[in-house]
């Protein structure tokens, strides 16, 4: 039992830190550290930089073009990215659809889709949720009818994150109404440029357009784009869920944001206010405990043991902490958090300017989503209870 990383792991961390420092535009990192909104170019530019190095798909095995890192190396890389202020790696391509393609796609599909994901050239989005089918995913109604060598897709998806920028979408679609709702679902890849695909961005409470409605109106999709077998899509989706990693807790981002909270408290003159400081201290304890929980899950994976009973807790706790972080940052700013300054949400301003506080309240608002999406925390507690009680 040991908290320390091995000398090899520490050397690895030094290496990736140095590489990130050399390749990450300081102005872009400054935007991240300031909590600003990132443009499509910010995100995709960085993804391409990582892609050129072969590190965008950093969780992939060598066989599919990944670096073949251990789970600990993956964690250290994620930590290095977060602490450096790198833009987030969007999970839809490399983390979500890619493992399904690797596990269930044909060699042709793998050759066709994986390189574009690994290079950061192709932007993917996820078509699971539908209006009326939130946590109850199995009730989805978007249907795909086989007509010759195509599926004809009709229906609507929603909460599709950043679909307005996406080249491709992976969808759960209904191909049968027989049996239980889960059994008639298929896993289909759809080119967003297909005729009949319409995207409508949804304005969120913080004023941002982060999710979308996506309509399919007689969209023709080649059967080659079906992953695995027809009507087995639910199995593949579940496979994906069971492969979600410790990084669902986003603890490395939480550590970075805690440092930001502390900087803010100092800048706003409340670092020595006992009440505010106690709240920060409590959150520091929460974050250390979360990190320990994450490290335990990683260590179990490293030893090849399942740690699912604990892993199920990570999303609940991680999301609560992300919310509390943004809440406290807003509270630290006090009334100065109240002006809504649209321009200052996108553009760097001097750190001591009023505008530098502009992102705080919108971030707090935005983070309410974290206990709702990806299976609400109520659903997560159902899952934990199910493993405990049956």
């Amino acid at each position: 039992m040991d908290l320390a990383f091995t000398p090899e792991e520490r050397a690895f961390r030094d290496e990736v830190r140095a590489w990130i420092a050399a390749h990450l535009d300081p102005a872009l990192a400054a935007k991240v550290h300031a909590g600003l909104r990132l443009s499509k170019d910010d995100i995709q530019g960085w993804a391409r930089t990582l892609g050129r190095q072969g590190w965008l798909a950093y969780r992939w095995p060598r066989a599919f073009g990944g670096p073949g890192w251990t789970v600990v190396q993956q964690h250290l890389f994620d930590e290095a990215l977060a602490e450096a202020g790198a833009p987030p790696i969007l999970p839809f391509g490399p983390v979500m659809v890619a493992p399904v393609i690797m596990a269930f796609g044909t060699p042709e599909q793998q050759q066709r889709f994986l390189p574009g994901i690994a290079s950061g050239e192709v932007w993917w989005c996820q078509g699971y949720s539908e209006p009326g089918a939130g946590s109850d995913l199995a009730s989805l109604r978007t249907r795909a009818e086989r007509v010759g060598d195509h599926y004809v897709v009709n229906g609507q998806k929603t909460w599709t994150t950043l679909a307005q920028h996406a080249d491709w979408i992976f969808c759960l679609v209904r191909t049968s109404h027989e049996g239980k709702p889960q059994t008639g679902i298929s896993f289909l890849l759809i080119d967003m440029k297909s005729p009949g695909v319409t995207v409508r961005p949804i304005r969120l409470l913080d004023g941002e357009y982060e999710v979308n409605e996506v309509w399919f109106d007689d969209v023709r999709v080649p059967v080659d784009n079906l992953i695995g077998e027809e009507n087995k899509g639910w199995t593949y989706a579940k496979y994906l869920l069971s492969h979600e990693r410790a990084n669902i807790a986003d603890v490395n981002r939480a550590k970075r944001e805690l440092k930001r909270l502390k900087r803010l408290a100092q800048a706003e003159g409340v670092w020595d206010d006992a009440r505010v400081r106690d709240q920060i201290a409590l959150l520091e304890v929460d974050i250390v405990a979360l990190e320990m929980l994450v490290l335990r899950v990683l260590a179990a994976e490293k030893s090849g043991k399942p740690a699912l009973e604990i892993a199920a807790l990570l999303k609940i706790r991680g999301s609560e902490i992300q919310q509390r972080l943004t809440e406290l940052m807003m509270l630290v700013a006090g009334p100065m958090a109240l002006p809504y300054r649209e321009a200052a949400l996108h553009t760097l301003t001097p750190p001591d300017s009023d505008d530098a506080l502009a992102p705080l309240a919108p971030s707090y608002f935005n983070m309410r989503k974290t206990t709702i999406y990806g299976g609400s925390n109520e659903v997560q507690r159902n899952i934990v209870a199910q493993t405990l009680l049956g």
Binding site: D136, T158, M330, F365
Partner: protein
Amino acid sequence: MDFDFTDEQVQLRDAVQRWADKGYDVERRRAIIDAGGFDEGAWRELVELGLTGLTVPEVHGGAGLGAVEAMVVMEALGHGLVLEPLAHSFIASAVLQRHADAALQQAWLPRLASGARLVLAHVERRSRHRLDVCDTAATAVGDGWRVRGRKVVVPAGDRADAWLVPARVDGTLAMLLVEAGAPGVSASGYPTQDGSRAADVVFDDAPARLVTRDGEAALAWAVDVGIALVAAQAVGVMDRAFGLTRDYLQTRRQFGVPIGSFQALRHRLADMKMALELARSMSYYATLKLGEPEAVRRAALARAKVQLGQSMRFVGQQAVQLHGGIGVTDECLISHCFKTLTQLELTFGDTLHHLGEVAARMTDEAGVAV
């Protein structure tokens, strides 16, 4: 001891609520937000309803009503998610009546009643929630005064006719009145998080009238009145959010049943009801304690804001959570309730700030009566 409203108070509430329901519906509100968060037309309607002069004495052209009526109005405006800061008319009326000399009252109370906007401008860049942090300074010049400094997040501050401005005079706090359009005054407005409007106001040796040299008492009074008004407004918003959430639980279906059949969500709604009723209780308490001597009043208003702050945060967050994905969209009214509650929590001192006030003012005694 009695918490019934009089028939007149019920009529007043109904009149405001009717106006909000019909005259200030969601579409109009959205248009006002898009246009910057303050609407002259809506303000005129508030004036026509007699609300700006509600607490102005009848001799000055007002209705001469009191804190309970102001509370009733604010709760209805909160329920209607009205953006225009009527609370500041009540605050100005209270400050002038208690602290201004007869001439200033004569000059301004009738104007208040007829709709002039006199707004408290007390927050500074470094003050956070503290009332004793004030860099703005005033100096006597001839038989008048000059004010120099910068106030921030002043509600509808660039649409005001005048501001009540706390400023230092020889080290102690005074309260002054500065008129819009006076030389050396500039206001830059912006929308706020809840969709309403505010401004930063700069006074560059702007001419001013003295309201009182005892600015500390006047500011404390203004803020305590403000806390009671914000409490009432917040109760209205929470009541709206609670109702929307209850409806949603009853109509939204998942897994083949209304989500209001899930025990965990049912208990959450019960907890929201608890938070709402504790807040409503403390809103009454805040208003009814405004007449107490300053020490008792300040402790009471701080207690109220602590309860309100906790309730607002819980009700706002849970209302969004129970709505699920739709709750975080701009389209869904619940997100506006949530943002309004967030803004109100940060107005006139947040929960931690007032917890400190309660702790500092705590005595050996306990209960509502002390």
